[in-house]
């Protein structure tokens, strides 16, 4: 069965997480996706994780610094619905593949730009590695950690917000195109990806009192949710949730065999303060439990908690396995490997992994041959020599 986005062709000019993974969300709902790389390939390819983020697409090399390459790119633009690029603002224009040039070639084109900093921002010309945006946008200072000062976010959070803005911006423009008949320039940035994840904590509220800010404030040691991480036996950890969506058959304290606080000690405390006080009592009891046995006991009693695993262990989770989210992919270099599946589950038009990360230039001959180019011309386009 064709995917929801069957027949949509995307040219992916991006490097890095935000563009690659944003395009992946679309590619696995049925688009025909071409990764367009400079001769020799995208430098991020040296990173194994990139094999996941750039799967489900074909790959061609195009030397945009050569006239033949630029012309060939525009031939591709004629056939495309979407271009996604992640250059710094202005660079695509200088290469002759900016929005204006591409829209002149194909007025129905949806052209998505995803730099680190938006055009017109004072940092727009600065390098845009994820951690640089974390630092300059304040995300590192706002994360508590084990020492004072800014904390490096191991998860590339700005990029991981931006992936969704790329995919949803492109789709909204495709939907609008059905009414207007025109393509348009869609722009987002890693900075906007940062903003996307601030909703619970960064707001200015004129008449807010202290309590409004208190619950979600940065605290050292970190607050409400951090307090529900408990150490079990063998220095393994579990994160307990205060709600499971079900009616528990035993309370957490019955499972742990911990006595409630005397009423006098709790009197006058805020619920969170009472919880933190109670957690002090619970900590020793947790250490008597083996982590996985405790998680099983919680679930048996309609309570819920998760083992704090390493990222590498996540695919052993029965829920990921039951929902096709831990899948085998035959990678060209690594062989049979387990990776993330397709995280958007359309039941009428299911998505699918189309194939592993393509090799550099794997589809040069096929794609440019289809456009009628000779082998000599293809060599010029792709920066190769014959």
């Amino acid at each position: 069965m064709p995917g929801a986005l069957d027949g949509v062709r995307i040219l992916d000019l991006t490097w890095g997480a935000a563009g690659a993974l944003g395009v992946l969300l679309l590619a696995e709902q049925g688009t025909d996706t071409l990764k367009v790389e400079p001769p020799g390939g995208d430098p991020f390819r040296s990173y194994d994780g990139y094999k996941v983020w750039t799967r489900s697409r074909r790959a061609v090399q195009v030397d945009l610094k050569a006239e033949a390459g630029q012309r060939a790119f525009h031939r591709l633009v004629e056939t495309a619905d979407v271009v996604v690029e992640s250059f710094r603002p202005g660079v695509a224009d200088r290469l002759g593949v900016g929005y204006a040039a591409c829209a002149a070639t194909n007025p129905r084109l949806v052209y998505c730009s995803v730099p680190a900093w938006p055009e017109g921002h004072r940092f727009a010309d600065r390098a845009g590695y994820d951690a640089l945006v974390q630092a300059a946008a304040g995300q590192q200072w706002e994360q508590p950690g084990w020492r004072p000062g800014p904390i490096f976010l191991a998860m590339p959070m700005p990029s991981m917000g931006t992936i969704y803005l790329v995919a949803s911006g492109v789709l909204a423009a495709l939907i609008a195109r059905e009414s207007t008949g025109r393509g348009q320039h869609v722009r987002t940035s890693l900075l906007q990806g940062v903003l996307l994840y601030t909703t619970q904590i960064w707001q200015y509220i004129e008449k807010a009192d202290a309590a409004v800010y208190g619950l979600m404030a940065k605290t050292n040691p970190p607050g409400v949710h951090q307090g529900m991480i408990f150490e079990c036996a063998d220095r393994e950890f579990v994160h307990i949730s205060v709600m499971s969506g079900k009616t528990p058959t035993k309370t957490l304290d019955e499972i742990l065999d911990v006595e409630a606080l005397p009423a006098a000690e709790v009197e006058g405390l805020l619920p969170l303060e009472a919880q933190n006080l109670m957690n002090v009592r619970r900590r020793e009891a947790f250490k008597a439990w083996k982590r996985d046995e405790l998680v099983a006991e919680l679930i048996a009693n309609n309570q819920i908690g998760e083992a704090v695993v390493t990222p590498e262990e996540q695919f052993e989770h029965p829920q990921l396995q039951a929902n096709d989210m831990a899948v085998r992919v035959e990678d060209r270099e690594l062989g049979s490997v387990t990776q993330m599946g397709v995280p958007i589950h359309l039941l009428g038009t299911p998505g699918a992994i189309v194939g592993p990360q393509p090799a550099v230039g794997e589809h040069d001959a096929e794609v440019f041959g289809d456009l009628g180019y000779s082998a000599d011309e293809i060599a010029q386009i792709t920066g190769g020599r014959r």
Binding site: P118, W146, F152, G161, Q192, T199, Y204
Partner: protein, 389 residues
Amino acid sequence: MYALEGLRLIDFGQYLAGPFGPMILGDLGMEVIKVEPVAGDGMRMAATPFLGCQRGKRDIALNVKDPLGHELALRLVGTADAVHHNMTKGTATRLGLDYDACRAVKADVVYCNTYAYGLNGPLSEFGGLDPLYQASAGLEHEAGAVPHGHDPLYYRYGMCDTSNAMLSVVGVLAALYHRQRTGEGQELWTSLMDGATVFASDVVVHEDGTPSVRPKLDAAQRGFDAGYRLYETNDGWVQVAAIRKDRWSALCATLGVDASRDRALVEEALEAAFRTRTAVMWSHALDDAGVPNEVARQVNGGEALLFDADVERLGLVADYEHPILGRLRQFGTTIDFSDTPGHINGPPPRVGEDTRAILDELGYSGAEMDDLRAGGVVTWPDESYPWGW
């Protein structure tokens, strides 16, 4: 014209992972009607999380467990293009609001459920909060630098909720595009668990169970490598990204460190050198040497970013007057469109803010509205409004 103009979504969600997605779809020009329990969305207990995912919505406060309320809910669905919620598995069926019930009144509806654990599997009927999935995907283990003897660390951005919601935005838009071209609606789902796994989707596990090499956080939570980490200066911190070899050499040269020694020794020497000058001085020196870097900024609860001159000028924040809270500023449009601009349709609503207007559109008289309210089927704000927002 807005990108999604003319499309209507009914949002039965509560808390975060449900409501955040419809809010973003609203920013893209969709008309979003929040169907809120008469007693209020469960998230109203906490101001910023609630306010952060409700702006721009119209709000009808409706008891869908009452037969009249249920009938009203389905009448609204009949006018809609999409339905969205985060009820636990089975709840929508019990309420008579599952895909089949909605499809019966709107054949081509796009119907999205954002779950906690996903549709299938032994835990599919459980609900859950963001921290569970920061645990399950390995994010907390990594953030805390647990292999160095620390405890796991929760990211206070709560971004697994947002990830689930954003997966649903992409899914709903893909389904709407498919519907535009074929006339067919469909059901779709996303989950908190999958949303978390997206964040650790660079994990690749070999057939023999060994994982591929991924960068690891150091014990002091400064970064991945001497060339990609935070350095403390004599007044603040600088993040460097000297990943290319030529930039690593330039970093060492700028700091006056001999790069030819063992990398651990070079890193120690860099740390010592960084402490001799201010963050801004080193940042400019690194700029001159072509080494990507930024001073880590303190934003004081986000305020410095929300009131940053460039962020304001570029329209990345939204301001509104809230009837109780006064001036409210949040992040603005996250995507810019040259032809169909984004659109923020006002502040987060109070419980039942638009109940009367929506009932009026459905043809109810004022007397009928009063009867529904007296029967506890609907409500709207008056002088005795109990909430602070």
